[in-house]
């Protein structure tokens, strides 16, 4: 029987972890260069949040997961606030998910919070992400969902950008590449007054269709509002279909499952 690999949790080492962590962070949050990662770990370049401390999960000498923490204020109105330890950038490389890496990292962050005198920790995530279950298990509770107002002037341009972004995400995600292997379909969205938009998945990449074909493998009738909700992780395809906001023709159960992942952009189970 193959021996279970040992996972080590420790503080990040600025000299050796930055290349591995740049890869892991890129997989989870979009492109991050090793140089930026190094600066983040060193605390030289702070992003909007400002990372203060990095914890790393290591398997066979390679950094495979990361979490960072930073002190914040949690306002209670009336000008009163509590100190809170913000838990930021929780991510695990796709090959190491489901092995307790994120849970271990979260425990590290919580232990650090307790040791540093914080009575509470907070984080910002999405309820559709599989990680949300881990956060609930570790004692975090939803406090408030967010709202966004959107106005779209040129959906054709937005769709073009979305296809490009899908390809970039695909390049970063091994799970996505594995899921889409052998899936060749043409998908057309009928967006009413915004016209038809479509893409084809072939040879391992998404191609936007400048002229949507008369007959597509999968034909979807919906609105720009629903498409925006789907592509911003608000809605799942199944829920949109059940709510009558979207009609799909020509898709099997398996196609729907894959299409949901493509639209929402979350590849983990």
């Amino acid at each position: 029987m193959q021996k279970k690999p040992q996972i080590i949790f420790r503080s990040a080492d600025e000299k050796k972890d930055y290349v591995d962590l740049a890869g892991v962070m890129s997989e989870c949050f979009g492109p991050v260069t090793p140089r930026t990662m190094k600066k983040w770990i060193q605390g030289e370049k702070k992003n909007a949040a400002g990372f203060d401390r990095f914890f790393v999960a290591e398997v066979d000498g390679k950094a495979v997961g990361n979490v960072s923490v930073a002190p914040r204020k949690l306002h209670f109105g009336e000008g009163v606030y509590l100190k809170t330890l913000a838990v930021l950038g929780v991510c695990t490389g796709s090959e190491y998910r489901g092995r307790g890496v994120a849970t271990g990292l979260l425990k590290q962050a919580m232990a650090f919070a307790d040791k540093s005198g914080f009575s509470n920790s907070s984080l910002y995530t999405a309820t559709l992400l599989p990680a949300h279950r881990i956060y609930v298990r570790e004692g975090f509770r939803d406090v408030q969902k967010t709202t966004r107002y959107v106005k779209i002037f040129d959906y054709d341009f937005v769709f073009r950008g979305w296809v490009r972004w899908r390809n970039r995400a695909l390049k970063q995600s091994k799970i996505a590449q594995k899921t889409l292997r052998g899936w060749n379909r043409t998908v057309v969205f009928d967006l009413g007054s915004n016209g038809d938009k479509g893409f084809r998945f072939r040879n391992g990449r998404f191609q936007r269709l400048t002229e949507p074909p008369k007959s597509a493998d999968i034909h979807i009738v919906t609105t720009v509002e629903t498409m925006t909700s789907l592509t911003t992780e608000v809605y799942l395809l199944d829920d949109a279909i059940k709510a009558g906001h979207l009609q799909v023709k020509g898709a099997s159960e398996a196609d729907l499952k894959i299409l949901n992942k493509i639209l929402v952009g979350i590849w983990d189970e």
Binding site: F118, S122, K145, R148
Partner: protein
């Protein structure tokens, strides 16, 4: 004040201190982990891709500001935050500022404009009227209480301030969260917090740490928590009195503000 006399101008480096003070006054209205420092405003001025404008009154005092970004290559505009003096009509000030930024983005041939990710009910006065559609996001702020006694200790000033406002009631209040308690003795306008007493409290509120956090942040209505049994009041007070006590201790806020994490 004649609100029609607002002037909109670009944010300059020298505004930073005044903007921070304005944010300080504004932040009393919201709950959540949004933070600003002087460097934030200096950065807003420094960044060439940011659209940072302020609204001034007739005397030149800053009564509101907006920060946004326009990414020309992606034809993507995003409004980060709109802050207005609490003494002014938010809808009016924010509307003027949003209009300015909106026009700049339109001139830049924007394909998409995304307005702030905050739960400010006042945004309803600003955005839907100009063709924005609203999306309830799945993004959520989560809080975990790691250390209940310390948490009870830290919320002491909040509870004391709120208890002072409870008119016509004097006595000892026990806030019991799991195995841990915090006591408050209210005598007229004076409230004293202490850790333990051998006397039974006149009023005991039993609540778990998660419900307590949600109640303190005002994102759960105390009426709902009481009806669902998530919060109990002992000895049983009349429904009206319980509502009054809980309503004073846990007022409802709706405006939750986030940092961009």
């Amino acid at each position: 004040m004649n609100e029609a006399k607002l002037e909109i101008r670009r944010m300059v480096r020298e505004d930073a201190k005044e903007l921070l003070e304005l944010h300080g006054r504004f932040s009393q209205q919201y709950v959540g982990p949004l933070e600003r420092n002087i460097e934030h405003y200096r950065r807003a001025v420094r960044r060439k891709d940011w659209l940072s404008w302020v609204a001034t009154d007739q005397k030149g005092g800053i009564v509101g500001y907006i920060t946004a970004v326009y990414v020309k290559k992606r034809r993507y505009g995003r409004i980060f935050e709109i802050v207005a003096d609490p003494n002014m009509d938010f809808g009016f000030v924010a509307g003027k500022l949003a209009e300015k930024v909106y026009n700049v983005m339109i001139e830049g041939n924007a394909a998409t404009i995304v307005a702030p990710i905050m739960v400010n009910p006042d945004y309803e006065k600003v955005f839907p009227g100009t063709g924005f559609f609203k999306i309830e996001m799945q993004e959520v702020i989560m809080v975990a209480v790691n250390n209940v006694p310390r948490f009870l200790d830290e919320i002491g000033p909040v509870m004391t301030a709120r208890l002072k406002r409870l008119a016509g009631w004097s006595g000892t209040l026990e806030l019991k969260c799991g195995e841990h308690s915090a006591f408050y003795n209210k005598d007229g306008d004076s409230v004293q917090r202490f850790d333990w007493t051998n006397k039974d409290a006149d009023c005991r509120i039993l609540v778990d740490q998660y419900t307590l956090t949600a109640l303190l942040l005002g994102v759960t209505a105390h009426e709902d928590a009481y009806a669902e049994g998530k919060i109990q009041v002992e000895p049983a007070l009349s429904k009206g009195k319980a509502k009054e006590v809980l309503g004073t201790l846990f007022p409802r806020h709706q405006f939750v503000a986030f940092n961009f994490w």
